[in-house]
Point group: C2
Chain length 346, copies 2
């Protein structure tokens, strides 16, 4: 994978996350954007640079036929940022898998599809092996902060008894769609309705817990998730929304996994406008103990775009199949230090 030929990539999904992924692919000398696909008829045929200024001079237009685009452009990799839920993209995944490429997707449920959609997971895995494809779901969360990072931290422990990860996001500092996604400005009744719709809040959270448990070798007895509104105590005004006291400021979700009656996985996510002390934190009850903290936390959107793009060459390096973030090497890059001016002390 350290060949000098750039990897030919088709991107699918021209939305807010897609813009970031596209801009990043265009910036990277090791990748070559060869096609862009979206299902929206109002986008098909338009020039890429209408959506992503960095696309100027690329000569690329949005196409509607994914397989044709991949085949005509001899793409070996696909980045995919369309939807969150597997039922809404399973047909796309089947189509991409048949094209014999490595696909990195932001679809949250694809992080660990064996949890909610084991039949589809097995079907897609078989398709991958038949067609020499690789499929990966990843991002900052799920995909990194609350699953891969605790797993890696656990490698330095003789024993891990429990994992606790916490993320507090001040949604007021993030883009408008995220503020909407967490329910800022809703009444508690409307919040409850959205929850009941099954299409609300942070998606793929239980998938983080399941992936973590599976890769730690923990056969959980129970895995569950709660979702509650965070109610504003004072007025909060952002560039996108005004929230009054008593209205919903955002969302608080908790994933809990147990073994033998003991909670071994506890993932706690708060995303709301006006959240004080935003941070990421990771604590392992382990020998030796592990406790890491990141004040402010990491900005989710650029981090997810980065992880998608930084997974392409690493996914191409593993055998075909439906993969998880735990299956990939940390890097497949390598440089020679033949001309290095090396000044060791010993």
């Amino acid at each position: 994978m350290s060949s000098s030929q750039p990897i030919r990539v088709v991107h699918v999904g021209v939305g807010p996350m897609g813009y970031r992924v596209l801009a990043l692919i265009l910036e990277r000398p090791d990748l070559e954007l060869v096609g862009v696909v979206d299902a929206d008829p109002s986008k098909i045929g338009r020039s890429l640079e209408e959506f992503v200024p960095q696309g100027k001079g690329s000569g690329l237009c949005i196409e509607g036929d994914m397989s044709a685009c991949i085949e005509r452009n001899r793409a070996v990799a696909v980045t995919h940022t369309t939807v969150s839920y597997l039922p809404e993209c399973i047909d796309q995944l089947r189509e991409i898998t048949r094209a014999g490429v490595a696909m990195v997707s932001s679809a949250e449920e694809l992080l660990y599809p064996w949890l909610r959609h084991p039949k589809w997971a097995d079907e897609v895995d078989e398709l991958c092996k038949k067609h020499g494809s690789r499929l990966l779901g990843t991002g900052i969360n799920p995909g990194f902060l609350m699953d891969l990072l605790p797993l890696l931290a656990g490698l330095s422990c003789e024993r891990v008894r429990a994992v606790r990860a916490e993320r507090v996001v001040n949604a007021a500092t993030r883009r408008g769609p995220l503020q909407k996604k967490v329910g800022a400005g809703l009444s508690t009744e409307e919040f409850a309705k959205r929850v009941a719709s099954g299409r609300f809040g942070h998606v793929g959270f239980c998938e983080s817990g399941a992936l973590l448990a599976s890769k730690l070798g923990w056969k959980l007895d129970t895995l569950g998730e709660t979702i509650e509104p965070v109610i504003a105590q004072a007025p909060v005004k952002t560039g996108f929304v005004e929230v009054q006291p008593g209205e919903v400021a955002g969302v608080h979700q908790v994933v809990s996994g147990t073994m033998d009656g003991r909670e071994t996985i506890h993932l706690d996510l708060k995303m709301y406008v006006g959240a004080p002390d935003p941070h990421d934190a990771l604590t392992l009850d382990s020998d030796p103990p592990v406790a890491w903290r990141s004040d402010q936390g990491i900005a989710g959107d650029p981090a997810t775009a980065a992880i998608l793009v930084n997974s392409i060459d690493r996914l191409l390096a593993v055998s075909p199949g439906l993969k998880t973030v735990a299956d990939l090497p940390a890097s497949v890059k390598s440089v020679s230090f033949a001309d290095l001016d090396f000044q060791p002390y010993y």
Copy 2:
């Protein structure tokens, strides 16, 4: 690698780190300790439990002939904790490599042997491929905190311009050999002599910098290391040493790597008795920025033992060759959740 048969392991090197590794292997149901080797004639023939109480009932005695032990016991993996420097173990590595096993070693220079010993690295890599062996050098540092962790953190960044990692260890809280290793209680003259001997201080630090650079795809122009004594300002008394003001309390080492005249890698390690505010910290100059901190830091010895043992199944999963920590998947474990009591909110 998720077979139910435990992996047959021979351990080489019955010293302080070896004790921890041995105890951990004996505790793990997925591993089976089948042999123990040391070159020291005063240890050969003695019962394992003389050194490691957990070895009671294992029936194992220390052996002197490594190849014979591996072959007779049909070992597929070797853990190796003997020395730090490659010139002192290259013959052992050749011998182990010819045995067709996966070897995980704490030899610090083996983290990235292409830096100081490129010919040996190529030789051993070829031997591995010929005999179906895998070789890995790892530990908490080098091997995790200041190389693998920054590399992984960088995966969540669109651009990484520079990496800064810092570790402050209060050596008074660690075992006697570490306090000696850092020079606690020496005069500054004696410290300078030890430095000049080329066998002093934290080993493999430049290897961390080189691995990090290589796997970030950074062709460094310069890479250098400095080592200085930390002088005690007040008396410090530990269970092992008394340090007077003006004497050496420990060591301060810095690795610096540059590209185009700009410092892109800065690794800063202080290990001394009485160090206030011990911690591990990681900062990336990146988009988005990354800043993680672990108050107290992680205890090095158990973490290194854990990483060695937790690398065995992951090393067996990759192709033969001389490998780095960046080449391994995060986990090869997998459990089925067929009987899971799953309570999703959506």
